[in-house]
C-alpha cells in the first residue's frame, strides 16, 4: 500500500499542534477566568480583617444560584440557542418550593425539592419542544415563556412568603460558618452531571448541533431531539437554582424583576466564562467561575466604599474588557 503506482510528490501530513497550544486553546479561557477569580478573592481577603469560613460561606452560598443559572444558560448556548427564561424558571421553582415546604419535615421537603426540579425539567423541555417544532427562534420562545413562568410564580405565591425546613437549609447551603456544603454541591453537579454528559455521545451531539446544525444532521445527529434534551438539562439546573434560593433565603419571592435580572446576569457569566454565543464551544466550569467573579465585584466595590451604582458600571466594564482581551488572544484561531 505504501508505494503509489505513479511518481507524484507526496503531500506532507499536517504537523500536529503541540500540547501547549492545545491546552491554551481548549482550557486557556477557563484558566484565565480562574486567575481573575484568584485575584478578586485575594483582593477581598485583604479588604476584610478576619477572612474566614464565615466569609467564604457567604461568597459561595450567595453565588450558588447565579452559578447554577450560568450552568443552565451555558448548556443552551453550547447547543446553539439562548434561554431568556432561566431566571423566571428559577423564581417559579422558588415559589412552588417555598409554598409547599412551609413547616414540613426534612423527608417531605427533600421529596418536594426533587419534584420541583422535575417540574422545571418538564417545563423547560416543553419550551424547547415548542422552539424546535415551531421553528420560531429560541430567543422569542424563551422570552415569551419567561412572561408565562413569571405569571405562574405570582399565581403560586402572590406575595413574598412561604418557608422551608431549617435542616434542609443547613444541608444545602450550610450554617453561617460552614462553606463546605454549598461548595460540595456545586462541585458534585459539575462532576457527576456535567462531566459524564459532556463525554457522552449526547454531549458531543449537543456541541455538534451548536457548532454546525447542517453538518451535525449529516453526521446522523437527531438535531431536534438533541436541542430538546439540552433544554431539559437547563431546566434541571434552573430548577436547582430555585431550590437553592429557597434554602438560602428561607422563603419565596415572586417578583418578576428578580428573574429578569438573574437571566441577564447568567448571560454575562456565560460570555465571561468563555462560552461562545455562537454555540458549539466552551464548558460549564468557566461560567461557574465567572459567576463568582461577577458576584465578588459588587462586594469589592462596597469594601472600597463605592456607591453600589458604580459597582454595576464597573461590572459592565469588566465584562467588556475581559471578553475583548479574550477575543484578541483567540483571533489566530478564528482566522481560517
Amino acid at each position: 500500500m505504501s508505494s503509489t503506482p505513479r511518481a507524484v510528490a507526496a503531500t506532507p501530513l499536517p504537523r500536529p499542534s503541540g500540547r501547549a497550544t492545545r491546552f491554551r486553546r481548549r482550557q486557556g479561557w477557563v484558566v484565565g477566568v480562574a486567575l481573575l477569580l484568584g485575584v478578586l478573592i485575594f483582593w477581598r481577603y485583604s479588604q476584610i480583617p478576619a477572612f474566614g469560613p464565615f466569609e467564604i460561606r457567604g461568597i459561595v452560598a450567595g453565588t450558588m444560584t447565579l452559578a447554577l443559572l450560568a450552568m443552565a444558560q451555558s448548556v443552551i448556548v453550547i447547543s446553539g440557542g439562548i434561554d431568556l427564561s432561566v431566571g423566571a424558571m428559577m423564581v417559579l421553582a422558588n415559589c412552588i418550593a417555598a409554598r409547599l415546604m412551609l413547616e414540613q419535615d426534612l423527608g417531605p421537603v427533600v421529596l418536594i425539592a426533587l419534584a420541583v426540579v422535575a417540574v422545571a425539567m418538564v417545563l423547560s423541555g416543553l419550551i424547547g419542544t415548542i422552539a424546535v417544532v415551531s421553528g420560531v427562534p429560541d430567543i422569542v420562545v424563551t422570552l415569551a415563556a419567561s412572561f408565562v413562568l413569571s405569571g405562574l410564580a405570582l399565581i403560586v405565591l402572590d406575595s413574598p412568603g412561604g418557608g422551608t425546613n431549617p435542616r434542609f437549609q443547613q444541608l444545602l447551603v450550610g450554617g453561617f460558618d460552614e462553606p463546605l456544603p454549598a461548595t460540595l454541591w456545586l462541585a458534585a453537579l459539575l462532576l457527576l452531571i456535567w462531566l459524564p454528559f459532556k463525554r457522552s455521545r449526547l454531549g458531543i451531539a449537543t456541541y455538534a448541533v451548536g457548532s454546525d446544525r447542517a453538518a451535525a444532521f449529516l453526521s446522523g445527529v437527531r438535531v431536534g431531539r438533541t436541542r430538546v434534551i439540552a433544554y431539559v438539562l437547563a431546566g434541571f439546573f434552573s430548577g436547582m437554582a430555585g431550590i437553592v434560593t429557597t434554602a438560602f433565603t428561607g422563603s419565596g419571592e415572586p417578583r418578576a424583576s428578580i428573574g429578569a435580572t438573574a437571566t441577564l446576569t447568567s448571560v454575562a457569566a456565560v460570555v465571561l466564562g468563555g462560552v461562545a454565543l455562537l454555540g458549539g464551544s466552551g464548558t460549564l466550569l468557566g461560567p461557574v467561575l465567572a459567576a463568582f467573579c461577577l458576584s465578588l465585584i459588587p462586594a469589592l466595590m462596597l469594601g472600597l466604599g463605592w456607591d453600589p451604582n458604580y459597582a454595576e458600571v464597573a461590572r459592565g466594564i469588566i465584562i467588556i474588557v475581559v471578553v475583548m482581551i479574550g477575543g484578541l488572544v483567540q483571533i489566530p484561531r478564528r482566522s481560517r
Binding site: T4, L13, P14, A208, L218, G220
Partner: protein, 495 residues
C-alpha cells in the same frame, strides 16, 4: 444480468418551483465503479443527497439489493449500506476528529485501520477539525465512511480538492472496493479520472438521465461531453457570429478593467484578463475553480494574495466594496437576497447605493432620489405590483432589481455572477437584452455563467477559468463542447 446493488427508478425532486430532478434512473451493479456526470445544475448533488438520506425524494423509488428502501436520515442510509463522502466534509469544526467519529458511531479503531491502509496513520485524531487542512479532512471523511464497511461508497467530487498523491490513494480504495465485489458511485468533473477508473457512467442533464455507457471505450470522452450538453446550439451561434463580426468591424477598444496576475488563492499562477468598455467578457468555469473568490476580490470584498487590478488605467486597491463602488466597479452576486434588503420596498433597494452619490452628509434629496429610482424601474420594466417588499418579487424581478440599483447609481464596470440562475426562460432573455443594452451603452461587463450557451448569447469573448487560472480565451462562436472541454482543463483540439 445480475441483480443491481442499487436501483433508483424515476426519482424526482423539486425545491419549490425549481425542479432539480425530473425522473432519474440509476443502476449500479455489484463490483462496479460507476461515475455520475453532468454539467453544473444537472442534479448530481441532489441525487446523491437523496441516495444518502439527506433529502426525501418527491417521487420514484430506491432499491438496495432488490428490496425497496426508505431513506429518512443519513443514519438510515448508512445502515442500508450507503455511505457518503460529501463535497463539503461533514465534520464539525469545533470538535476533535475523535469526537466527530463518536458522533456518527464510527469505531475509532477501524478508522485508524483504514487510515493506516491509506498511509495516513500519522494523522492525530485528537486534533480539532478546524486545525486540519481540507484535503486531509476529506481523507478522514473517507476513512470514516469506509469504517462502516458500506456496500456502496458514494464519493461526491472527492478529488476536486485533493493533490495528485492523495487522489491516487482514493483510486486505490476504489479498486479495492471493486475487488471485494462492492461498488462505488463516483462524481468528478475530471473526465480523465472517470475514463481511467470507472466501469460505467450515467450522464444527467436537466434533471434526467440521458445516457449510460462504459466511459473508457474509444471516444468515451466526446460521448460524455455530447451527452452533457443539449443539442440546440445553431441559433445561438448565429447570434454570436453576428456579434463577432460587428466587434471585428469596430476594431480595438480601450480596456476598462485590466487584471494582471491576480492570485485568487495561494497558487503560483495568477489570473489575467482585460475587459473593454462596451464589451461583455464571459467567464466559463466548472464549480469551485475560484470564480467566487475572483468576483469577491474584484468587488472589494476580499483582498487578493497578489497581483494587480487596473480600472481605467489606474490601480484599484479596494479595502471595502465602498472603494470599488466609488471607482464604478459594482457586483451583482448570485444570491440575490444577499444583495437586496428583502423586507424593504423597491424604492429603498434602488436608492441604497445611490446614497454614495446623493450628498454624503445631511438629509437625502428625496425628489432627486425618487426621480432616479423611477427611471431605473421603467428602464428595467420591473413589475412593481409587489413593490412594498423586495422579497415578494419573483426571482427574475429581483435580479432586475439588483442590476437596476446600480443602474440608478451609475456604474462603469459591472460584475455579473451567474445572473440568470433559477430564473424562468422568458425573464432570462430580458436579462440578456438588458446586459447587451448596458454594454452597448459603454459599460464593461464581466459575466460568470454556469450556462455555457449564455456565452454565445450574450458575450463578446469568453475566458475559461480552471484551477484558479485562465486556461483559454475563445470567441463567442466557440461551441459549447469546446468550452466544456477547456473548462475541464483539457486541450481543445479543433478550434
Amino acid at each position: 444480468m445480475a441483480q443491481p446493488l442499487l436501483q433508483a427508478t424515476a426519482v424526482a425532486k423539486a425545491f419549490g418551483p425549481v425542479v432539480a430532478l425530473r425522473a432519474v434512473d440509476l443502476s449500479v451493479a455489484p463490483g462496479e465503479v460507476h461515475a455520475l456526470l453532468g454539467a453544473n445544475g444537472a442534479g448530481k448533488s441532489t441525487l446523491v443527497k437523496i441516495l444518502t438520506g439527506v433529502l426525501r425524494n418527491d417521487a420514484g423509488t430506491v432499491a438496495v439489493n432488490g428490496a425497496e428502501v426508505e431513506l429518512n436520515s443519513p443514519t438510515e442510509a448508512r445502515d442500508k449500506g450507503l455511505a457518503p463522502v460529501y463535497q463539503d466534509p461533514a465534520m464539525i469544526r469545533d470538535l476533535t476528529v475523535e469526537q466527530n467519529l463518536r458522533l456518527t458511531g464510527a469505531d475509532p479503531a477501524r478508522v485508524r485501520h483504514e487510515l493506516a491502509g491509506m498511509d495516513l496513520d500519522g494523522l492525530d485524531l485528537d486534533e480539532q477539525v478546524r486545525d486540519i487542512p481540507l484535503p486531509f479532512l476529506r481523507m478522514l471523511d473517507l476513512a470514516r465512511a469506509l469504517a462502516f464497511d458500506p456496500q456502496l461508497l458514494v464519493l461526491d467530487e472527492i478529488t476536486a480538492a485533493l493533490p495528485p498523491d492523495l487522489s491516487e490513494r482514493v483510486f486505490a480504495i476504489m479498486t479495492r472496493w471493486k475487488r471485494r465485489n462492492r461498488s462505488v458511485l463516483f462524481i468528478s468533473h475530471r473526465l480523465a479520472e472517470v475514463r481511467e477508473h470507472c466501469d460505467m457512467c450515467t450522464v444527467l442533464r436537466d434533471g434526467r438521465d440521458v445516457a449510460s455507457f462504459h466511459p473508457g471505450r474509444e471516444g468515451g470522452e466526446s460521448q460524455i461531453v455530447a451527452a452533457m450538453l443539449a443539442e440546440a446550439g445553431a441559433q445561438v451561434r448565429d447570434v454570436a457570429r453576428e456579434r463577432a463580426a460587428r466587434a471585428e468591424a469596430e476594431g480595438e477598444r480601450t480596456p476598462r478593467l485590466v487584471v494582471r496576475d491576480l492570485l485568487i488563492d495561494r497558487q503560483d499562477a495568477g489570473v489575467s484578463f482585460e475587459v473593454a468598455a462596451g464589451e461583455v467578457l464571459g467567464l466559463a468555469a466548472l464549480e469551485g475553480q475560484g470564480q467566487d473568490r475572483l468576483f469577491e476580490i474584484l468587488s472589494g470584498n476580499v483582498r487578493a494574495a497578489g497581483g494587480e487590478i487596473l480600472v481605467d488605467g489606474r490601480p484599484l486597491r479596494a479595502r471595502h466594496p465602498y472603494d470599488a463602488i466609488r471607482r464604478g466597479v459594482v457586483l451583482v452576486p448570485a444570491n440575490r437576497l444577499l444583495a437586496l434588503l428583502p423586507q424593504r420596498p423597491i424604492r429603498e433597494n434602488i436608492a441604497i447605493p445611490l446614497f454614495n452619490r446623493i450628498g454624503r452628509w445631511g438629509p437625502i434629496n428625496v425628489g432627486r432620489e425618487r426621480r432616479q429610482v423611477r427611471d431605473a424601474v421603467e428602464r428595467l420594466s420591473i413589475d412593481t405590483r409587489a413593490a412594498a417588499q423586495a422579497r415578494r418579487l419573483s426571482g427574475g424581478n429581483q435580479q432586475k432589481l439588483t442590476i437596476g440599483r446600480w443602474l440608478a447609481a451609475g456604474f462603469r464596470t459591472l460584475l455579473l455572477f451567474d445572473p440568470t440562475r433559477g430564473i424562468d426562460v422568458g425573464t432570462k432573455h430580458q436579462i440578456y437584452d438588458l446586459v447587451r443594452e448596458l454594454a452597448d451603452g459603454g459599460a464593461a461587463i464581466l459575466m460568470f455563467t454556469s450556462e455555457l450557451r449564455e456565452i454565445g448569447l450574450v458575450c463578446d469573448r469568453a475566458a475559461v477559468l480552471h484551477n484558479g487560472a485562465i486556461v483559454a480565451e475563445m470567441p463567442p462562436t466557440a461551441s459549447e463542447s469546446d468550452l466544456l472541454t477547456a473548462a475541464h482543463g483539457l486541450e481543445v483540439t479543433a478550434v
